[in-house]
């Protein structure tokens, strides 16, 4: 699936919640509970995303031109939020990730239900994922030279 296909899927899922705040929060946490655990060796200070109020660990690897992220957080809601991003970016190319327009955030009214502080944290996670994409892209280009 393309990045936009996954985003559209997420938008549809959230539409079923009908704007109910409590259901939405529960749903996000449920998504977080399903996120595969991060390896203990990746739970390092270096992998902590800066700019999040909660603690978020994030790391990435590359297989056949596609990126794979893993993440964890000390808060259930943040873990759910990062799981959305992972779902969107899994097995996408660095270029697609770098150019992704994440319109699902507006469509599902993300800022309204997570508040400004968490929105800033969310932006920090996206930035960190794009930085990984850029790093892998640069590495690929050097190898090809």
């Amino acid at each position: 699936m393309t990045i936009n296909q996954v985003q559209d899927e997420i938008i549809q899922e959230f539409a079923l919640l009908d704007g109910d705040r409590e259901m939405t929060v529960f749903y996000i946490m449920e998504l977080g509970q399903k996120l595969p655990a991060i390896e203990d060796r990746d739970r390092t200070e270096e992998n902590v995303v800066k700019g999040c109020q909660s603690k978020v660990w994030l790391t990435a690897t590359m297989k056949n031109n596609g990126l794979y992220f893993s993440a964890d957080s000390n808060t259930a809601i943040t873990k759910g939020l990062v799981s959305l991003l992972i779902r969107i970016f899994t097995n996408q190319t660095p270029d697609d990730i770098l150019h992704a327009d994440l319109y699902f955030m507006n469509k599902i009214g993300m800022e309204r239900f997570i508040g400004t502080q968490r929105s800033n944290g969310f932006a920090a996670m996206i930035k960190q994922m794009k930085l990984y994409a850029l790093a892998f892209k640069t590495k690929m280009e050097i190898r090809h030279d």
Binding site: D20, R21, E22, T24, V25, F26, M29, Q53, S54, N74, T75, A76, I77, T78, F113, I114, G115, R118
Partner: protein, 414 residues
């Protein structure tokens, strides 16, 4: 007060709630439950009206004007000072200085008194229960003056360890700064005893009354504190104003905090003579509107009666404590025998941010985090708590909603 023997008149919550327009709204599809009163309290309609009346009827700069509006504004502004004097039973109106609130009051004392009278090696005693506002200004002046900070230890229950305090007192002790009640745990501190012990050594004591203003009787003469600080916004009044009380003989020997208009008698380029108390410490055009409305907030408290308010809030605190302890995995943080209506807790295995967010989804406002008391959180080895703090307009039905919300979260996370 819990042990008070005076005859209390029960609080008519339904009538009181009618006076607070903000309470009658839905948040996220449910009736708002406002349990963040330790951060700031809501305002009754007539406090809000006082602001509008001032701006619409008699907005003018105070003290220097001779026209009618200036006269009215000055009278109203000074009426708040008189009310404040009576509210805390200060000996004179000259001992009441308007500030932006507790934070500025503490900064004023640290900066003016601290800079003038601290010497290298002198000691300042704070407590482990303090808000950052009652830590950082002292760190700043201590660094400048090479003075030493010492900290009164906190017990597991969240009370100040008085024996520990006695051990800290020396001939070098110059200032003690502690809160009347803790914003994070609710602990009511034995300020009278702390003050007595300090005075035996000639040290001065500042009491941070942020969490006492709306909840505890305050009599600065009986207490015999040297400085006392209040924030209007935690007492049903507007933001941006508050009080510094200081004993007159101390305020008189302190240098001004800020320079400008209002605080002077005469200015030439060679020399300025300062105005009398309290104006010496009120440089520039003050926050006239909010000071004027603050009077109405204090009147609100006085009319209801502090004892009646305290009794109602104590009732809520007892009920909430009982109910919350029935939930599995809930741990109270702060179990002092004397508490204002603050319930701080943690739920095992669930982060406080998640709890705060989920309660908000049900229209319940609580505070989560370190509550500006990081050293206290370190003392317990935790990052933060969930804090529900109750006010005169809260009800047991609202507490039931909090408990129901928590139950759902705990069940979901299982």
């Amino acid at each position: 007060m819990p042990n008070s023997t005076s005859i209390l008149s029960p609080i008519d919550v339904e009538r009181i709630r009618k006076e607070f327009p903000i309470l009658h709204q839905q948040v996220n599809g449910r009736d708002l439950v406002y349990f963040d009163n330790a951060a700031t309290s809501q305002k009754p309609a007539y406090v809000i009206q006082a602001l509008t009346d001032y701006y619409q009827g008699y907005n003018a700069n105070i003290h220097r004007g001779i026209h009618t509006l200036a006269e009215r504004a000055t009278k109203a502004y000074e009426a708040t000072r008189l009310t404040a004097q009576q509210f805390i039973n200060a000996a004179s109106e000259q001992e009441i200085i308007f500030t932006r609130g507790v934070t500025e009051s503490i900064n004023l004392v640290a900066s003016s008194y601290g800079r003038a009278f601290l010497r290298e090696g002198d000691e300042i005693i704070l407590s482990g229960l303090e808000h950052h506002s009652n830590i950082v200004p002292w760190q700043m002046v201590a660094a400048e003056k090479k003075a030493i900070l010492k900290i009164i230890p906190v017990t597991d229950e969240g009370e100040l360890d008085l024996d520990g305090y006695k051990k800290l007192l020396t001939s070098k002790t110059k200032i003690i700064a502690v809160n009347h009640a803790s914003n994070s745990l609710g602990t009511i501190n034995p300020v009278k005893e702390i003050i007595q012990l300090a005075h035996q050594l000639g040290a001065v004591v500042l009491i941070d009354g942020a969490q006492a203003g709306a909840h505890l009787p305050i009599d600065v003469q009986k207490m015999d504190c040297d400085f006392y600080c209040l924030s209007s916004h935690k007492m049903y009044g507007p933001t941006g104003t508050g009080i510094l009380y200081g004993k007159k003989e101390l305020l008189e020997k302190m240098p001004p905090y800020q320079g400008g208009g209002e605080m002077i008698k005469e200015v030439t380029f060679e020399k300025t003579t300062y105005n009398d108390l309290p104006y010496k410490f009120e440089a520039g055009t003050p926050n006239i509107a909010d000071v004027i409305a603050f009077k109405f907030a204090m009147d609100f408290i006085t009319e209801l009666g502090k004892e009646n308010i305290a009794a109602h809030e104590h009732d809520l605190l007892l009920y909430a404590t009982q109910q919350i302890l029935k939930l599995p995995a809930v741990k109270l943080v702060g179990t002092a025998t004397q508490k204002v209506s603050v319930l701080s807790f943690r739920v095992e295995g669930i982060h406080h941010f998640d709890i705060g967010q989920m309660l908000d989804a049900r229209g319940i406002a609580v505070r989560t985090g370190h509550h500006c008391t990081q050293p206290l959180m370190d003392r317990y080895g935790i990052e933060g708590t969930v804090r529900a703090s109750f006010s005169v307009y809260n009800t047991k039905a609202e507490i039931d909603q909090l408990i129901e919300g928590l139950e759902r979260i705990i069940n979901f996370m299982k």
